[in-house]
């Protein structure tokens, strides 16, 4: 099978074409004089940048320091829960992933987001020894983005099948799936030679095939199940034009144009 090559890059497309449009941003506040001061002080040299966003501390670190930083946060600052961890794909813009760990201090109701940048193809250190929740989170990150995790006890796909090709949360991955994805069930159950028999996926749920007398009944002129279609037998429907629109005449619906 041909390897899927992304033909258009979603990230390079501009979301807003209005040149006066200013992308709204959440204001960033200084850490000084907030209750996060001690946390940032504890992290010391590891902190590359830090600010407060919506009452939540954001700490930028180096990708190599993630284990040390999370260890300090857990053991010295009381952030005993890692509630979420994943990545964001910025490959087209910067050639990097942004990885984040969302930490929660239950006693003081404080949250910290630890953020780092990871170059494509590099691996990150597992934080599973500190937080058991990281086990599944890191597997999901591996599954969805293909980011390898060092020293993970069981790094295996978690949502997609084991023999899946591609990583679906990458922005270059098409929503309808690549060639491998669209034939997955046919290849797996019947084998590749069945592709011709079953045919490609129909992505338009409103599609009616008038020649298919097994799946659709012909309105106005009913034929038994499984009869061969014969265009000569087509009868003029006299009673209701509005209810019997031939959707096949138009090549595609409005939805297709928007896509």
């Amino acid at each position: 099978m041909r390897k899927y090559v992304p033909k258009d890059n979603v990230q390079k497309k501009a979301y807003y074409t209005d040149r006066f449009h200013v992308v709204p941003r959440v204001p960033r506040e200084k850490v000084i004089d907030t209750h996060f001061e001690a946390t940032v002080f504890n992290l010391g040299e590891y902190v590359k940048d830090s600010y407060v966003e919506i009452g939540q501390l954001v700490v930028h670190i180096d990708a190599n320091d993630n284990f040390a930083v999370l260890k300090i946060l857990k053991e010295q600052c009381g952030y005993t829960q890692c509630s979420e961890q994943s990545a964001v794909d910025y490959l087209a813009k910067d050639g990097e992933f942004e990885l984040f760990w969302q930490m929660l201090n239950v006693n003081e109701a404080k949250r910290v987001r630890v953020v780092c940048r990871l170059k494509e193809g590099l691996a990150i250190e597992s934080v599973e020894p500190l937080f058991k929740s990281a086990n599944f989170a890191e597997r999901e990150m591996f599954d969805m983005f293909g980011i390898k995790v060092n020293n993970h006890p069981f790094l295996k796909r978690i949502l997609m099948p084991d023999d899946w090709e591609g990583h679906p949360l990458l922005k270059t991955y098409p929503l309808f799936g690549d060639e491998f994805a669209s034939w997955y069930e046919v290849d797996k159950i019947f084998g590749k030679e069945y592709r011709d028999i079953i045919g490609p996926e129909n992505r338009d749920p409103g599609k009616i095939d008038i020649e298919d007398t097994k799946r659709f009944s012909r309105v106005g002129y009913e034929v038994p199940f499984g009869t061969e279609y014969n265009a000569d037998e087509e009868v003029e429907v006299a009673y209701s034009e509005t209810a019997l629109v031939n959707y096949n005449k138009k090549t595609s619906k409005q939805l297709d144009e928007r896509r």
């Binding site: 949502l159 069930e185 011709d196 028999i197 095939d209």
Partner: protein, 180 residues
């Protein structure tokens, strides 16, 4: 002494009922349709409701069986993901003949709102379907109606399953692809 009245105007004058093998067999088949206890997504909740006391499938002779070897009907209730498609097909293959399939809900019919890479776009890509049931989710009454339609369909069929036309997995799109 028991009195037995013979109506000479009907039943050929004898206290017997005449029927054909087809009718007798289909009477048995259609009145004890045992579906497989098998749910995939939210539609399965409605299927469970149909089986429970309020809608009460049991009164139609429809009793959910926990093994595909004992089941006649497969109700595909919900979203079939590509990862799971292999197992769904295996369960179908494990069911003994004769067997029928109801595709319940938009997701099973066409992929529904999950127009994505991970969902099978219609279970008829892998399993031949007898009844398509529209709705998201179809109400229990709709599933009951589908069962009744299936009973009707079975009663029209031949007792010899080889003579019955089953939907094959070939679509017109597939046929056209083969001709090219």
């Amino acid at each position: 002494m028991a009195q037995h009245q013979v109506n000479y105007a009907s039943s050929a004058g004898l206290p017997i009922a005449l029927t054909s093998v087809d009718k007798l067999v289909n009477w048995g088949r259609s009145n004890s349709l045992w579906p497989l206890t098998y749910g995939l997504a939210c539609c399965a909740i409605e299927m469970m409701a149909s089986g429970a006391s309020r809608y009460d499938f049991d009164r139609m002779g429809t009793i959910f069986r926990a093994s595909p070897r004992q089941a006649d009907v497969m109700i595909l209730a919900g979203t079939l993901s590509k990862k799971h498609s292999e197992f769904a097909r295996r369960l179908y293959d494990q069911m003994t003949e004769p067997k029928w399939v109801i595709s319940m809900g938009s997701c099973a019919n066409t992929g529904g709102m999950f127009n994505t890479y991970a969902t099978v776009q219609g279970v008829d890509r892998i399993i031949p379907v007898d009844i398509y049931l529209p709705g998201c989710a179809p109400r229990p009454e709709t599933l009951q109606y589908a069962m009744m339609m299936l009973q009707k369909k079975i009663r029209r069929e031949s007792a010899d399953m080889k003579k019955n036309t089953k939907q094959d997995l070939t679509t017109q799109a597939g046929k056209r692809a083969r001709l090219i």
